[in-house]
Symmetry: D2
Subunit: 357 residues, 4 copies
């Protein structure tokens, strides 16, 4: 397993859904930076389950306890460890016996990899719950980036076939960023919300789930960040984003649309504007040769439909070694896209802070 | 700069388009494996410029000289260094002065990052020519993987609006893989070739260029390879693929199409087949929770149109600090997709070999 | 800060002496291995303060709580996090103001590095207390290594001018290893204990402290482990050992004594013994060209005298910017060598497990 | 194999003694720095064989050809590759069959590790010749460090029982550094030279070899460099120094002598001097808690006697699987300490440049 990320600011995520606790160690944070813990909690609340439209700043469960690295809310430079205790751990009997792997879940792949020793309760280390410490880490890193003028915002780009408006790739206003950063159903055009909620509701009533896309923008990043080839900005961000469960595609700028374009359309013309070099369009998503060009960095991630659905599904029985059917019980989020938005922002922050000098 | 990749088999790529030579050091190869250098040269020929339909096994230019790590074509276990000497280096005068950055190229971003000290002749370290050592490294690694039964093949999935047939995601025949591995215009359905060539020709005659997509499959990979979170198979492959110039999107399995699907459609049902667990569909591209499930690993990459076009383009003059126009002279490939196919196979091999125990 | 180690089994240590807790995340442990927690606690007890001659298996303070990665004492393959809560944290007022750095301590170097923001209470992240999670991590890794027949034992090689007998470098009996592994004052020749304790007592009554050396042996390690050059066994072990506070020298085999030897004395002759290649002597400490040769790996570490002494010392006042004097109050260990023995064994285990395939 | 070092400035060393060439790729050098190649060649000449007392700036053999990363002697920011072609490669027949491993050499350990496939001619990748590219890399890095006021010098601390004077640990004059940096038999007190040469001659005439120690100082390094625990200055330097063949011990400051000292002797008192914090002594070698304190960083390395001696030695015959005797023919350096001095300086430079922000 390697639930670590970064070589400057190093993140090590730990925990299992029904274990004693989950959390993260962040090694390499700069000493002396003041962290606003309320802002961190806002981000964690955006990701937390069981909420409706609005983000609640303080949610008692999922409350992270900082064990180290912070004194009077100021970073000490020592590794920061935050722990979220699990309160739903059952001490009683359970079997760690995986019989029928759930389609679309990690069950079968993990069963093979870990020789049937992994903790399968609630998905174990693969649980979406593990994104809580990631959001915590990202929220800390974002405050450091903000002091350098770098801001990050994402929104629900689409759910099923319903789309939000897209970012204006050459100019993204701070007001929009602030609005998105506080929203638990982050949209540029709020009029899309009801249609998206209907799409989710339709899936739910069909005992089904639905996927979507998330668009993320990083503003205020200077030209010259990133490296050519394998440590290019695209690769570094993509590795972080694919670390989020359920992400199956990442594209920068116009992304896959570029495949159908002509060079005369896709090349972003350079211009001087207020003495600064800018591009008139931003089809490249702010990245040329793996290096930022000073325009907003923009990417989109594809989120697969929640694999937990209430319909009967075909699977295998690994004990009996025969085909089987499976029905997953319990309440499941028919669409995880809204809650994944702050997670995408968080991993973008982890990626960017690791590319800064 | 960080033109390195991998922590088991470590690749360090060096060189500049008009420097003395380009090449690669590969550290961590297993001792005792016999390498068929003719097969390596076939892969390099597929990528090489100036060819037409068929791949020529021995092309005098771009011929890699192995300095170390191989004795009688057998890997010694020591780092393997291969150098391709540049023959087109001009020893005379030149200016390293970048005046007008080419739109869509790394020129401007690199100018800022390297304080105007980078070698801009022919694109320097950002030149597509640097993919030659990557193909070399990949070709060596592929032979090691093949001994473990792992095969890699890619094809031109689309150029502009012309599409090839896609891989059958649940069963890819060795015969198809062999055919693609030898082709310099790799297609599943050869009848698409003329239409694609027409599309490229149309772009060329318009003094323009065109993009496309490449689909890549990795077969014979056991279930249980990869790690959860940030070292998942998707992230590790994506980091390698985004290391290839001009790639702006990567998706696994159904990728962005999943965003519009329902869970009941996207979940791949498990079945027993000949005593082995398989999935009936392969929308997840052979990866669940970041770990392989034994099905073919399948991904697609978006290739942007060649930024070098012959039309007049808007840019800036960095010396005069004013807007300017630019015309790029010389012959340029109006579509790099066919030549990028073996590069994508190569980086896939580098990614996979770094995930094997 | 970078309190991380390893690229296969990755250790991330966190905590500050007077913070909420200290601990470690261990990423990359093999799934399915059963861990005997009592054995882990024995190792932690050997390092713990406040004990006398014998190691107490369960010491309530310094008790590590495992948050993740273990289920029914079996490794799940997910990152293992263990936390030791600090019970001596004072919530009241304190100043984080460093006035007079203690000679021999990290105070001044850390003050400069962390812009005076580091937690100085009790030494903060530099406290010897941080070796508790290291011993925990080492104790887990040792049990994995033991399943492969690899054993690790260290002893107090010297305190001041009193020396223990040294390991027989060509044959170290399991019985000796077992004895040392259970001892809190680990000696090969127990008759040295009283003389060593006298040496420590003499230092204490002089309001002073004393240094020493620790010798460590790793047995059962096959020939062929390690890599040439920078990932040689010597370098990998040394990096781990220098991670232990107060270590200022590391030598392998005859070490610095080799500098005065002739090649005819230092070269270890090869012989067949019971069909196996061995060396008659082991001046090289079981390592040739950075790679193990099948003989015991043997190294020694120099431990500086505890910097905290009760005598008045010369220092500076960083606030007043003038010379000053300093008296350190409280009880301090006049010799940390006995307690450092299990720490050295632990980091040796971390080093070795990261070199195994 | 892992002949790589560093994560900021990444070094990848390649080559085998009798292969086509040896060299190094240096990735991560800062763009725009002018490199004085004559100075680089002076360092390489100090290490080169076949010279006597004085360093020859241009020695045709071992001449490094720079393939990339440098334009008009200025770093471009792209990976720098330098190759030294081997001229003594025999294209004729040879056997790669190792029969009798040389005692004290890597032969046997490498035979096991590489399944008898490693290139054994001339020691292959383990040859001391591989230190030539290391000196090249160090010489480039040193020039970058010198621009920040950081200087590195080493001297022969001892050969056999003959000792040079040691560095004054609290003040090392630039004039001394310059003298040492140009010397091929680097001594603080030149009167020791004849006695050392006699010691070497005595060993040679006895068909034997002799070891020694090298002391190295790094001046001009600010307080606050390095990290606690596993990335402390001691560990980072030690890992680099143990990468040099024949090094079996590394100690910082008073090193192993500290083991016999009292804290009241070893603690370095702080004082203000010209408004700057200094220590009156420097027993800690300029490092506290893994972090520099602004004093010179000082370490010593133990060099084992050259394992190649002309006397008959006991070994085994790995083909016949029986005991055997071995006589090594040819001219061999009976003491490699003088030539190892610039290598130690080089790896110190690699270590330091990787710790700078």
């Amino acid at each position: 397993m390697s639930s670590t990320y970064g070589d400057k600011v190093k993140i090590s995520v730990f925990g299992e859904s029904h274990g004693n606790g989950i959390g993260v160690v962040i090694d390499g944070l700069p000493a002396g930076v003041k962290i606003d813990m309320d802002k961190v909690l806002v981000q964690m609340a955006r990701r937390a389950p069981g909420k409706d439209k609005t983000a609640t700043p303080r949610l008692e469960k999922d409350f992270p306890k900082v064990l180290s690295g912070m004194l009077d809310n100021t970073l000490t430079g020592a590794p920061l460890c935050a722990v979220i205790e699990n309160t739903n751990t059952r001490s009683g009997d359970y079997g760690n016996l995986l019989s029928c792997p759930r389609p679309g879940h990690s069950d079968y792949a993990a069963f093979v990899k870990y020789n049937a020793s992994n903790d399968i309760r609630g998905g174990g280390h693969f649980s979406g719950r593990l994104t809580a410490p990631i959001v915590f880490a990202g929220a800390v890193c974002r405050q450091i980036l903000e002091q350098k003028g770098i801001k990050i915002a994402a929104h629900i780009s689409s759910i099923g076939s319903v789309c939000d408006e897209q970012f204006n790739p050459v100019e993204i206003e701070d007001k929009l960023i602030e609005k998105l950063n506080l929203s638990s159903f982050a949209l540029i055009d709020d009029s899309a919300e009801q249609k998206m909620r209907d799409e989710v509701e339709k899936a739910r009533t069909s005992l089904d789930s639905v996927g979507g896309t998330i668009e993320c923008a990083i503003t205020g990043i200077d030209a010259g960040v990133g490296d050519p080839m394998f440590d290019g900005v695209e690769g570094v961000i993509a590795k972080a984003v694919f670390g989020v469960p359920a992400i199956k595609g990442v594209e920068f700028g116009k992304g896959f649309e570029l495949a159908k374009m002509r060079g005369s359309q896709s090349n972003d013309p350079f211009r001087y504007k207020d003495g600064k070099v800018v591009t008139e369009t931003n089809n490249m998503g702010g990245i040329l040769g793996g290096i930022t060009n000073g325009m907003p960095v923009i990417f989109r991630a594809a989120v697969k439909p929640t694999p937990s659905i209430s319909q009967k599904q075909k699977t295998v029985d690994l004990q009996k070694k025969e085909n089987a059917e499976l029905e997953i019980h319990g309440r499941h989020d028919p669409c995880i896209v809204p809650r994944a938005v702050p997670v995408i922002e968080a991993v973008a922050a982890l990626a960017i802070i690791n590319m800064m000098d």
